[in-house]
């Protein structure tokens, strides 16, 4: 397994763990940006065949969107919302880290059971992708702020993107561009909604968005 791939894997794991364990919004946004950079270089490690121009285009699109545009949008949302720059968790940081480490082992176990082609590094990439998806879900569920929910959604998309790059090699270029565009539009609209939430409520705490419910308790 080549050294670039193992470097990618370790850096992805560390960035996911950093997302789970960090307490500041700025650090979380930078971690997501870092993941975007890593993902931009992933197609070159994985694919040995295939049109180079296509890989280049995908890598460029990913780099621009996930490495620059999304962090810029998120930072702008954070600054406009003008809230305390601390991630407010339901589950504490050390416990999140511990869950993350256990989940990482779990993802290794699950990935070993997938019927994968026997290329070296496939199992590792798949377990990495599953762990990234877990980190995304965990961030959405266990953090109060709306901004961290958007960050969690981006991390989830990153994990799915890794699976896409490794497994889905005959997705045409147009679809991959469409996927990137859709994610961009989603983040854009979420950013606008967060701005409205902050203007409306003076906070971006989704825990307090609980007016609509079925049974008045």
């Amino acid at each position: 397994m080549n050294v670039w791939l193992s470097a990618f894997l370790i850096l992805m794991v560390l960035s996911n763990l950093a997302l789970l364990g960090s307490s500041r919004l700025g650090v979380c946004i930078r971690c997501v940006a870092f993941q975007g950079w890593l993902l931009a270089f992933l197609p070159f490690f994985v694919h040995t065949e295939g049109a180079v121009y296509r890989l280049l285009l995908i890598a460029l699109g990913t780099l621009v969107l996930k490495g620059f545009v999304f962090p810029a949008l998120l930072t702008r949302s954070m600054q406009e919302a003008d809230v305390r720059r601390e991630v407010e968790p339901f589950i504490g940081y050390s416990l999140s880290l511990l869950f993350g480490l256990v989940a990482w082992l779990g993802c290794h176990w699950i990935a070993a059971r997938f019927p994968l082609p026997t290329e070296p590094g496939m199992v590792l990439l798949l377990s990495e992708a599953l762990f990234t998806m877990y980190a995304g879900f965990f961030l959405i569920v266990s953090r109060k702020k709306a901004l961290t929910q958007v960050i969690g959604y981006l991390v989830l998309e990153n994990g799915i993107y890794i699976i896409g790059i490794t497994l889905a090699q005959n997705e045409p270029l147009l679809v991959e561009m469409g996927i990137l565009l859709d994610v961009f539009a989603a983040v854009f609209i979420m950013g606008i909604t967060m701005f409205h939430i902050n203007r409306e409520f003076d906070h971006i705490d989704t825990d307090r968005l609980s007016t609509l419910k079925d049974w008045d308790s």
């Binding site: 050294v3 193992s6 470097a7 894997l9 370790i10 794991v13 560390l14 763990l17 364990g21 307490s23 940081y93 050390s94 880290l97 480490l101 990482w104 082992l105 290794h108 590792l124």
Partner: protein, 302 residues
Amino acid sequence: MILALFSILAALLFAPFLFGVINRTKALFAGRTGQPLLQMYYDLYKLGNKGVVYSHTISWVFRVYPVLALAGMLLVLLLLPQGGHVALLAGPGDLFALAYILALVRFFNVIAALDTGSSFEGMGASREVQFSALAEIAFLLGLCTLACVTGSYSLSGIYTQLSYSAWLAHGAVFLLIAIAFFIVFLAENARIPVDDPNTHLELTMIHEVMILDSSGPDLAFLHYASALKFWILGSLLIGLLFPIHTGYGLIDVAFAWLGLLVLAVSVGIVESIMARLRLLRVPQLLVSASVFSFVALIFLLR
């Protein structure tokens, strides 16, 4: 054998010099001239000539601790491989011996601090215990990973087998362990960002406060023992980062000393550019060191 004796002698002679290097680096960063490089030797000499003052509340623990600290460090020096050669008392499992002699010294440090009956030292003792408990995980996991890589349970066995070809094969793993070791090194030696060695404020003391009641030759022993601890943990780190084996024992040892100098300078730089972390954040830092070691271990094993 001769080489081992030679490096032990060098450790005994040059350990306080490293602290001088650190202080001089910090002074240069601050634009001052700073203390003389040999200042610590003068301090040790000065303290050795003074008399000891004991309070009424202490027991034998407090008297025994400085001697025990020095004895422990000397014992660990016998286990320490430096410059890629085998230590004097090398044997399988001696990495646990090293870890736990250091733990024994730390234990006596803590109970000697509690022995004085002052709540000030007690506060330092409780902080110290919390941080070392977390640092030990990172340290032992890192050593365990190294043992897995080289297949040997002896420190000497591990460090003689580390080389640049090992780095090429397991580069990412070694890098992670090196980062974890560096954080543990800073924590165990009471350096910024874990503890400020120059502070006089109660809020920020951890190690400083525990030796507040010591005086005279006792204090000299304690300072010397901390210098030796710096040398020991630094050698473990340098042995991992710069595993130079040229085949000539003397040149390897000289390179190890050079590495220690570089380490001292970098510690000085870290102390100059960073502030000490809030006490809430120190456990997070140590937990992340443990996470690095753990990730390295799992990465190796999968």
